[in-house]
């Protein structure tokens, strides 16, 4: 099916039915999911999917409908529903669609070989990573391993003449295992995602990390409630970055619902903290040539050496704020309205070897796991469950779990005093290892 022609036709259809502006966002793709356990295939799941979302503007009111049936009758029905539903919303002069016909130059999103790699090879990858993870004698059970892949095409057309598309692939594999000792159980897992099948890590590397994560957390102890330095390993970066991302959402800022609302151009973190949002990086897992409403993506500095430099916008919110959209319109698939979201969002690499961060810490917590919601964007409060290693005199001493950590975002960000050189840009939401001086730890 010619989806470019279809999206244009659908836009015209909405205009014919009474919309002043219209946008059609179509996704078409397939996915494959294999789960293996104890050396045997447990689940095989394969499907093709498609769907389209219509955004319409009728005399300043916005509404949306989505549909996954591409028959003529169903599409007409969906367009009618969208236009009819617009009567429910409030007129807003900011309800406009973008007209930038450009595309960001983004490469490395699509692997033409992925469909050629045999199913047997993919199954073998899942089997291998499990087999290797089970090798250590402390690992007693497998919770399963798996391989996933997907291919998708995205098509967007709007009534300002935009008509753009791209295609992408992503594949991943991983394993999850259990280590036991007496009555103790500990679990650990690792996965690897890439755009290109050939660039996946070796099953050895993934298996070893999964196994280590599990057996290193046996024989944990508790420590007393106290203040101590806390080292955030890249696996837990989300607990800090998530709140910053939500805090720079331009709409929240306008509504006064962000702890960063009044902080533009202010110093909100230590000099060592630079945070970037990049939709253009080649092969980036969250890279794309245009955002959820068709604007070219960018690479932007959000925090520059501790100073807040950038909020994020889509077209409607940008108009309201009197600025240009930053290309951060984000959709959770064809079924959702474009909100505001990040692309590849990360803390910039620092100069210090992560081993040296541990060595420089007299007493502290090396975090491997954090639970909870992270930094609350409305007020910057942070509280979470914690597990990892206790550090004494610059050395890992013993594993800990069942602790809590808490603080406020500004205290934490300003107390980042060491940033590591271990930034892995193969992940889309990540940071290097970093240390926060003195956080409250809850224990016995």
């Amino acid at each position: 099916m010619d989806y470019i022609a279809l999206t244009k036709k659908l836009v015209k259809g909405c205009l014919d039915k009474g919309a002043d502006q219209a946008e059609a966002y179509l996704e078409n793709g397939r996915n494959l999911q294999i789960e293996v356990r104890n050396g045997e295939i447990e689940t095989v799941q394969e499907a093709a999917s498609h769907g389209v979302g219509f955004r319409v503007f009728v005399r300043g009111r916005m509404a949306f409908a989505s549909c996954n049936d591409f028959s003529e009758g169903a599409l007409k029905n969906a367009m009618n529903k969208a236009i009819g539903f617009a009567a429910n919303t409030t007129v807003d002069e900011n309800n406009v669609l973008p007209d930038d016909k450009g595309l960001a130059d983004v490469s490395g999103l699509y692997d033409p070989q992925i469909a050629q790699v045999s199913m047997d090879q993919k199954i073998e990858l899942a089997k291998q990573v499990e087999k290797l993870a089970m090798k250590d004698s402390r690992i007693t059970k497998s919770a399963g391993s798996g391989y996933n892949e997907g291919e998708a095409e995205v098509y967007l057309a709007n009534s300002n003449g935009l008509s753009k598309s791209y295609r992408e692939t992503v594949c991943s594999f991983g394993v999850y295992v259990v280590a036991e000792k007496g009555d103790q159980k500990s679990s650990g897992g690792e996965n690897c995602s890439r755009r290109y099948f050939q660039e996946l890590k070796t099953p050895q590397e993934v298996a070893e990390k999964a196994a280590r994560d599990a057996y290193e957390m046996l024989d944990t102890r508790m420590v007393k409630t106290q203040k101590a330095d806390v080292i955030f390993n890249p696996d837990v970066a989300r607990s800090v970055l998530g709140g910053i991302l939500a805090g720079v959402n331009g709409e929240r800022v306008l509504q006064g619902a962000s702890f960063l609302a009044d902080m533009m151009d202010q110093k909100i973190a230590s000099d060592l903290v630079t945070i970037i949002d990049d939709g253009t990086r080649s092969k980036g897992l969250a890279s794309k040539p245009f955002d959820g409403e068709g604007l070219p993506t960018q690479k932007r500095t959000i925090i520059d050496k501790g100073v807040l430099k950038g909020f994020m916008y889509n077209t409607i919110v940008a108009k309201r704020a009197g600025v240009q959209s930053t290309g951060n319109a984000s959709r959770g698939g064809f079924r959702s309205l474009p909100g505001i979201g990040a692309h590849n969002f990360f803390m910039e690499v620092g100069p210090v070897d992560p081993e040296d961060i541990i060595k420089a810490t007299k007493k502290g917590l090396y975090l491997r796991g954090v639970t909870g919601y992270g930094i609350i964007p409305v007020n910057g409060n942070f509280s979470g469950g914690a597990s990892g290693f206790w550090i004494e005199n610059g050395k890992i001493a013993f594993p800990v779990k069942g602790l809590t950590i808490a603080g406020s975002a500004f205290e934490m960000l300003n107390a980042i005093d060491m940033v590591g050189n271990d930034l892995d840009l193969n992940r889309s939401f990540t940071a290097p290892t970093f240390r926060i001086k003195s956080m409250q730890i809850g224990g016995e």
Binding site: A143, S145, E168, V170, Y176
Partner: protein, 513 residues
């Protein structure tokens, strides 16, 4: 399309990171040629609408699915129509209409599952999906399928004001009422966020055991959040209301009540000070505090982790695992509750399942596969987010059963600690049993009284310890609605009476004095 990295409230690790799909979602399309909707909306009877495909199509699909072997196959057809209207800053910002239909075909052979799904529902696409799903059973023994025959299930859902007959003006009106009530509550409430969601979901299930079952269920989900702004502090309160029912949901609890409950929390929490950290006694008020038991005990009792022998409750059936005052139930038959769908998404009747009875572990929650693997009954917990997902054991309405203590006595007899009035959510590792949840509204307890409000803290512990350390259970059972994530979403409710737990680790930001 991305690897699914959503931050789930439930930390069930394996399925979380292994899953990847086109954005899972719940928009549906009604294709007039295939679907006949019967709108019956009489009082005190369930809404029934049948998705009509010729039963021979199901039989042929199932035969194709079992062609290469396998002992069980099913076809799940789903059609969902949804409306979501958002109000922010006193404006109706967006209105989203979703139409989503599709079918999934599954084959089970031993411990293996093959699965394929399609957006288009025709005999051809179903047969194709069956063929793809059938490969996993190659070379295995085959159990011959039984021709499907339509059956019934007990219904616990009544609809008085069907959603199809509600004009959009009424939806806007309840939102407007909530918005006004929130803003009127106190000048420090600067803004309200109102989300109105309703859907009608039609299901047809046909399987190789000869089952054919159809229904159509309405679901409503109303969320109010209020932003309170004080001197240098802000607090976002939240209150949610959800039922499988018609629009009459708002006659039982009004939009004003929802908004005022939410606004009250926002205002009170503007005075919150730092919460102390460390191990202390915790009294949790009745209601959505039940997320405690959903996380700490519910997930670990789901049959899939037990069947894989990696769950923390593996091998403990019949043993005393909790204190004498602790009885825990999962009940999919509570009338009109958010977690009640009459029968699960595999066609098994939902019912009341007592999981832990006065401290003794009596039952796990199963789906068809784990029931088979464990040689246990099907408890009616096989649920799926949509036709794009495989059913797995999920909870329905999970609660700590009421005890005999008066809630005011529980507080009065607590010397010190934290009184938790509401929670956001939590997560659990079903293998290690470590769970945690996050408080929204909480107070210090000093000499048996609630005193200063304290900022949202994390509570963390091990589930086996927690349920042994519950030493008081009130008589005031209440529930709250929630969204459970386990690699896919499920609508649930969780409840409890006021309870006290001795010795949970609290993650505050100040050292105890």
């Amino acid at each position: 399309m991305k690897t699914n990295k959503k931050f789930f409230a439930d930390d069930i690790p394996r399925r979380k990171f292994l899953q990847m799909s086109l954005k899972g979602g719940i928009a549906m399309a009604a294709t007039p040629a295939l679907l006949t909707q019967l709108l019956s909306c009489k009082k005190a009877t369930s809404v029934g609408a049948k998705l009509e495909l010729d039963p021979q199509i199901y039989n042929r699909t199932i035969q194709k699915a079992l062609e290469k072997g396998g002992e069980f196959a099913d076809v799940y057809v789903e059609n969902r129509i949804s409306r979501n209207i958002i109000m922010e800053e006193s404006k109706f910002k967006s209105a989203v209409f979703g139409i989503n239909q599709g079918a999934g075909v599954r084959v089970i052979s031993g411990d293996k599952t093959g699965f394929a799904y399609t957006d288009d529902i025709t005999e051809e696409t179903l047969i194709n999906a069956a063929e793809v799903a059938s490969y996993v059973a190659r070379g295995t023994d085959k159990v011959p399928p039984v021709d499907v025959k339509e059956q019934n299930r007990e219904s616990y859902i009544t609809v008085n004001l069907p959603l199809e007959e509600i004009a959009d003006e009424k939806r806007l009106e309840v939102m407007q009422r909530a918005n006004q009530a929130a803003l009127d509550y106190d000048p420090k409430i600067k803004m309200a966020f109102i989300s109105y969601y309703d859907e009608v979901r039609g299901r047809t299930i046909a399987n190789s055991e000869g089952l054919q079952l159809s229904d159509e269920l309405p679901l409503m989900f109303f969320i109010v959040q209020t932003l309170g702004v004080g001197n240098n502090t802000r607090h976002m309160g939240r209150e949610r209301l959800s039922k499988h029912s018609g629009f009459e949901m708002f006659d039982v609890v009004t939009p004003e009540e929802v908004a005022r409950t939410c606004a009250r929390e926002s205002i009170v929490m503007l005075e919150a000070t730092d919460c102390p950290a460390g191990k202390m006694d915790v009294v949790i008020q009745n209601g959505w505090g039940g997320v405690l038991v959903h996380e700490a005990v519910g997930h670990p009792l789901e049959g899939d982790s037990i069947a894989k022998k990696i769950g923390v409750f593996t091998g403990k059936l019949g043993q005393k695992v909790a204190s004498d005052v602790f009885t825990m139930v999962d009940d999919g038959s509570l009338p009109n509750f958010r977690g009640t769908t009459n029968f699960d998404d595999e066609g098994t009747q939902m019912k009341k399942n007592v999981l832990i009875n006065k401290g003794v572990l009596e039952k796990y929650m199963t789906d068809i596969l784990s029931a088979k693997q464990l040689n246990m009954e099907r408890t009616g917990n096989g649920r799926r987010e949509s036709f794009r997902h495989l059913p797995i054991p999920r909870m329905t309405n999970t609660y700590i059963d009421k005890g005999t203590d008066k809630p005011e006595d529980i507080l009065a007899s607590s010397k010190s600690g934290i009184y938790v009035q509401s929670l956001s959510g939590g997560s659990v590792n079903s293998t290690t049993g470590m769970f945690n949840f996050t408080c929204r509204e909480a107070y210090l307890i000093e000499n048996g009284k609630k005193t200063t409000p304290v900022k949202g803290a994390t509570l963390i512990g091990n589930c086996l310890d927690i349920i042994s350390n519950i030493d008081a259970v009130g008589e005031d059972l209440a529930f709250g609605p929630g969204i459970c994530g386990k690699g896919q979403m499920a609508e649930v409710s969780a409840g409890q009476p006021t309870v006290r737990i001795r010795g949970i680790n609290v993650g505050g930001s100040r050292a105890r004095g």
